[in-house]
């Protein structure tokens, strides 16, 4: 699994959005990284025609996912969404008030810049690699190499400096906030889904569907069951083909 994979051929004259994600197909989630799952959920929610390509080519920023549209490469899932909103005249937050849009941004950032690092630290430092739920085994040398780099990043970001118990506690507080804000609602801001639902789902699906051996999964089942209910709602609404995606051909799926 090299990280500088071959570049596929794109038809830059069409309006199709090529959605490129690294092949981290999980046994229980379409991608073990929350960001491709976020972006693909957005593409489905916004009904933007796209072609999913699973190759090992990272973006210009060295990350996954990225998109290509009419010859333009856009890196970073959030910049992709902003670009696509403009290109396709989409606004999944249109029905939100100004205050709700502000809260939407705050929740987005809590999920992607804090809860994400809880997920990363647990996956790479405290869990058994077999429990990651990857559809193919990572050779142990490569796993060790990636873990070293993740540790360096996590220490620089800050989360990596905390103990396992502290990281669990930080994750619990984030999950509690999400659960309390969601309450009985169908989606985060009511009966209509919005942009941040894509991100929240991308992240929560990792805890609820993939990391089933993790203490956070047990915590959600016991104390925040509405988060599990929410994941199923999102999955049933935007991923009716979830099981086929997991079982089927991982190289490309057309909408």
């Amino acid at each position: 699994m090299g990280l500088r994979g071959s570049k596929p051929t794109f038809d830059d004259s069409s309006n199709v959005v090529y959605f490129i994600q690294i092949p981290l197909r999980g046994l229980r989630v379409p991608n073990l990284s929350p960001f491709p799952l976020k972006l693909e959920t957005y593409l489905r929610m916004a009904k933007i025609p796209h072609e999913s390509i699973m190759i090992s080519t990272l973006s210009s920023k060295g990350k996954t996912p990225w998109i290509r549209h009419r010859g333009k490469d856009v890196a970073d899932s959030q910049f992709c969404i902003e670009y696509l909103n403009k290109q396709f005249g989409v606004n999944l937050n249109e029905h939100l008030t100004k205050e709700q849009q502000a809260v939407s941004r705050a929740i987005l950032k809590m999920v992607e810049e804090n809860l994400y690092w809880v997920l990363v630290c647990y996956r790479w430092f405290f869990m058994n690699p077999k429990d990651m739920g990857l559809s193919q085994n990572i050779p142990s040398l490569i796993f060790a190499f990636i873990r070293r780099r993740v540790r360096k990043y996590a220490n620089g970001q800050g989360m990596g400096r905390h103990s396992q118990e502290e990281i669990f506690h930080i994750g619990k507080l984030d999950l509690q906030a999400l659960s309390n804000y969601l309450g009985e609602k169908k989606f985060l801001f009511g009966d209509q889904p919005s942009e941040t639902d894509c991100s929240a789902f991308g992240m929560l699906a990792q805890f609820v569907f993939s990391n089933i051996e993790s203490p956070h999964c047990a915590l959600i089942k016991k104390e925040f069951p509405n988060l599990e209910r929410y994941c199923h709602t999102m999955r049933n609404t935007f991923w009716p083909d979830w099981d086929q995606v997991l079982k089927g051909d991982a190289s490309s799926t057309k909408l």
Binding site: K61, G62, K63, D76, F79, K98, E99, Q101, A102, V103, R105, A106, I107, L108, K109, M110, E113, N114, K152, Y153, A154, G156, Q157, G158, R161, H162, E166, L173, D174, Q176, A177, L178, N180, Y181, G183
Partner: protein, 277 residues
């Protein structure tokens, strides 16, 4: 066994090396003991806040000591500042010491103090408001922080920012190089200057839109998120007044500047007196 002249010389060398080693060790221990003699009175209930010295424009060039001190002032918890370049067990500042216990990380310190002093600045909030408070806290400390750090240390000359004079320029520049490495790993450092400015603007907009005309984020009473927002925004509003972020706040989000003045007047009436001369 009779010792030859060579053996004696070897023994003398070994003895000399051991003596030098012992002297160096004792000297290092003495320096260690001297460093440890910080003014803690562990039997009292005073909370010691360890942070770097005051700046000339802001009480700290870092947002986290200001967040923590503002919390202590709002909660009326007796505290004493210890201005020292002494980093916590996690390698950061600020940290606190209370009754002989060291607690690193501003947020863990606040949780500890809430328990010790039976404080809850969020008691008046609903469950949803507490959730939103957490979200804003994390947006400010895990996203906006990195955007502003990239500006201060990577895009601009860090020597323009207000730092206490005891921190030499070479230390600032070295820290800047470290921030650049950390920001790459965290993710913010991979974006361009314009992209990071755009991210900053969206965060400012969110705080501004949620604050609206309110006195504090959630009404008339401040909470921990207000302390975090204040600690971060004063770096733009009072410290780096030359920055494009300062102009952005003045032009597009004036209620953020108004908020900073409200917090400063309410909880830092001694602001001007405590700044470094």
């Amino acid at each position: 066994m009779r010792l030859t002249f060579g053996d004696t010389r070897l023994l003398a060398l070994a003895a000399g090396a051991i003596a030098v080693g012992v002297v160096l060790f004792l000297n290092a221990s003495r320096k260690q003991r001297k460093r440890k003699k910080l003014p803690y009175k562990d039997e009292s209930d005073t909370v010691y806040v360890v942070q770097i010295p005051r700046g000339k424009k802001v009480p700290s060039p870092s947002p986290f000591p200001i967040k923590l001190e503002t919390y202590l002032r709002i909660a009326k918890i007796p505290y004493e500042n210890v201005f020292a370049r002494k980093f916590s067990s996690k390698g950061k500042i600020p940290w606190i010491r209370h009754r002989g216990k060291d607690v690193p990380d501003s947020q863990f310190a606040i949780e500890y103090l809430n328990e010790q002093f039976n404080v809850d600045l969020e008691a008046h909030l609903t469950k949803e408001e507490r959730a939103m408070s957490r979200a804003f806290l994390k947006m400010v400390e895990e996203n906006l922080y990195w955007a502003l750090a990239c500006y201060r240390f990577i895009h601009d000359d860090v020597r323009k920012a207000d730092y206490p004079s005891v921190i030499p320029t070479w230390a600032l520049l070295l820290f800047g190089r470290r921030i650049k490495k950390y920001a790459w790993g965290q993710g913010m450092g991979r974006h361009s200057v314009e992209e990071i400015f755009h991210i900053t603007k969206l965060d400012f907009e969110a705080i501004s839109d949620y604050l609206g005309d309110k006195k504090f984020l959630f009404g008339d009473k401040p909470c921990v998120a207000d302390c975090a927002v204040f600690g971060m925004l004063v770096q733009v509003v009072f410290n780096q007044t030359y920055s494009p972020h300062n102009a952005l706040i003045k032009n597009e989000f004036p209620n953020l500047e108004r908020f900073c003045w409200t917090m400063r007047n309410a909880f830092w009436p001694d602001w001007d007196q405590i700044l470094a001369a």
